[in-house]
Symmetry: C2
Subunit: 335 residues, 2 copies
């Protein structure tokens, strides 16, 4: 397998991206193409003593940053690392493409360059959130602020394939994020979507378990939580905000007095597990589901470990041929 | 001041409601009317040795429960404790009414019986959430799944009055919950609402600080977080779910081994503060903002302390005359 990595995008690029690629090459093997300023990347690879690894470089002089207009960046900056990498994955020069750059620019670029799977209305960005007993896939977590029941039906299918093939969950339970558990709950979008998810479930194509409330998702009530990108983004950010707030309060509590400081020392080894569970570096990245080629978005603040984890996700996505899986079921996804 | 309390509604009614009323009477003085089955309430008051307190009883034989249709319950069950209590507060037999019953039934009932303030399009349910440095008022937290920019403008005004008069926050900072901080973010509702909030702020009537993301709210980036009732409900429940999940994981961590169990014993006194901060019993209840008389919704799972706290909130709401404040500004609240 060959992975194309945008070396220049992200808060910690290019250092963390190159390091993460080296880490992945050592851990998983495979071939890699780092896209970006050749001289800079070459120097970083030398520093990592990675000259013998199967990592090549494709030069790209420009970079898309957070100030570029997402809708037009990839078209306007044709020689940017992101644009070059997208054309490479479109043309089959590699099996998957990974970027930690501007989410909007990457989504617009992927839609423009690598295109959506025929019949898919919108690509969705899924996010794996920690929950009781494991992880839950939330989608759309921010790509599409305004959605129709058909989009949400397609998200339910695509999320199910991803949860089954990449996360290894058998018959993933699909929940519709709603403001109550009863089937009469929600706004017009939710009521209409409930009916189409129910029909797909009755036909045996997805495993719809009904409405889930915000509090049910962290409890692990479903494996795939389907929602529009506005609500999904607010949920995802709320989870991050509350977790950060509580960890901060916990830290303050540990600093209260000598007793609590001693308690912290006793807890430190066990705290590692909690921190690891909450860390986004363990998942690393997510594909735009519905794009015709594997395009992975890594977190903007990705460190080397997050890039390494994104490579792992991308490998699983390519191996399981999730794109082919979506294409095979596309006839059921239209309303 | 005289408080009318629906004694029969809520998961722990009537015991917890009567106990909470007794607790409030002992702590705050004031007069109370408990509405519900007279014989049952009398017996509970006797058990509490509360015969000498200024608590009277108004008999009501029926009860609205979770199985009643919210839209019609108050009209259909005219002799229910909730219906009787609503008519009493409408007719001036008390200054405020408190119920831990079915939220939808109470909202429909209040709209029907006590009516909205003239010019207010929808009543909103605010919730005080813990955040860095204090509490943030989230509204609408569940009353109206579908909203217009005008509703959200009215929520911003009403939330500001409540935060200032009841929570004691000077010039409360109003944020619009959105999927990004930039002023171009969001769906149509958010974009249109941004403009009207900006205009109200430029006229010096509210203190609008722009868009806030889900992660900004727990960080204390605003005092009043304005959103539609669908998003507000999902946020509120997500906060509850994540907090519950993390507290559970923390508990598991404490149970890991002898060291962590010892750590727990050392932390126990300090943990009380964290638990108290996260507890809904400390706020107890919230008014339906925009209803012409003070109608307070207490949490369905209210214990006695939550009812006592709801009484405290209701007293502050009546004293500050938030209803009068809204009426005085109604001319600015129309679009």
């Amino acid at each position: 397998m060959k992975l194309i990595i945008d070396a220049m995008s992200g808060d910690n690029a290019p250092e963390a991206i190159v390091s993460g690629c080296v880490m992945a090459a050592r851990e998983f093997g495979q071939e890699y193409i780092l896209v970006g300023k050749e001289a800079v990347i070459k120097e970083l690879l030398a520093k990592e003593k990675a000259e013998d690894l199967p990592i090549s470089i494709r030069n790209a002089e420009d970079v898309i940053d957070m100030h570029d207009d997402p809708a037009t960046a990839v078209r306007r900056k044709k020689d940017s690392s992101m644009s070059v990498a997208l054309r490479m994955v479109r043309d089959g020069e590699g099996d998957a493409m990974i970027s930690a750059g501007n989410t909007g620019a990457l989504l617009s670029g992927a839609t423009l360059v690598t295109k959506r799977i025929r019949g898919i209305r919108r690509a969705a960005l899924p996010t794996q959130l920690p929950c009781k007993g494991g992880r839950v896939l939330l989608l759309d977590s921010g790509a599409n602020a305004e959605c129709t029941p058909e989009y949400l039906l397609q998200f339910a299918y695509m999320g199910s394939f991803y949860a089954e093939k990449v996360m290894g969950i058998k018959k993933p339970r699909v929940g519709l994020v709603n403001n109550g558990a009863e089937d009469t709950k929600g706004d017009t979008l939710r009521k209409e979507t409930y009916a189409v998810l129910q029909a797909a479930s009755e036909a045996g194509r997805i495993n719809f378990v009904g409405n889930v409330e915000g509090s049910d998702v962290p409890k692990g009530a479903c494996d795939v939580a389907v929602t529009d990108g506005f609500t999904g983004n607010v949920m995802l950010k709320t989870v991050e905000g509350v977790a950060g707030f509580l960890m901060g309060e916990l830290k303050n509590m540990f600093l209260t007095n000598t007793r609590t400081k001693l308690a912290y020392l006793l807890l430190k080894p066990a705290m590692g597990g909690l921190k690891k569970m909450m860390s986004s570096s363990e998942v690393g990245g997510a594909p735009f589901l519905g794009i015709a080629r594997p395009v992975f978005k890594a977190h903007g603040s990705s460190d080397a470990r997050a890039i390494r984890s994104a490579v792992k996700q991308a490998m699983a996505y390519v191996e399981a041929d999730v794109v082919g899986e979506i294409e095979n079921s596309i006839e059921y996804m239209a309303l």
